[in-house]
Symmetry: C2
């Protein structure tokens, strides 16, 4: 089953990569952009049938490895 984990920096945590992209977009004339935040989109191919069980397991993966919960938020989509 395909599972998508979206990891993003928490509100208030500085995002220099996003800031650099925002600046570059401005230089290219995209003045309508007010802000850019860059996160990760992790796509997992996971064995199993029970969506709830899979989600629970992936949550554990996030807590143990995929996200740094001190500075990052995440949400999980099971497809």
């Amino acid at each position: 089953m395909k599972v998508v984990v979206n990891v993003s920096l928490k509100e208030g945590v500085l995002d220099p990569q996003g800031k650099a992209v925002h600046h570059a977009l401005g230089s290219l004339g995209f003045d309508e952009v007010n802000g850019v935040r860059i996160g990760k989109r992790i796509v997992l191919d996971v064995d199993g049938e029970d969506k709830e069980k899979i989600k629970e397991r992936v949550k554990t993966m996030c807590e143990e490895l995929l996200a740094n919960t001190v500075i990052e938020d995440y949400f999980i989509e099971v497809e």
Copy 2:
């Protein structure tokens, strides 16, 4: 308006970061994971009302800066 750009490596393009995470998950006992691909999730705050127009502009941003279309695919979600 919030616009999300999801950028991922094309099928067939090697993803060493994803491979490393897959390996690490295996080491932690998550044997049900068959594959991991890691992409970017870029969240833009864009001025404007017309969703179609915004999407068209963000598509141009992707082609010019946000994605490397030789090795990456992207899709845009306007929220």
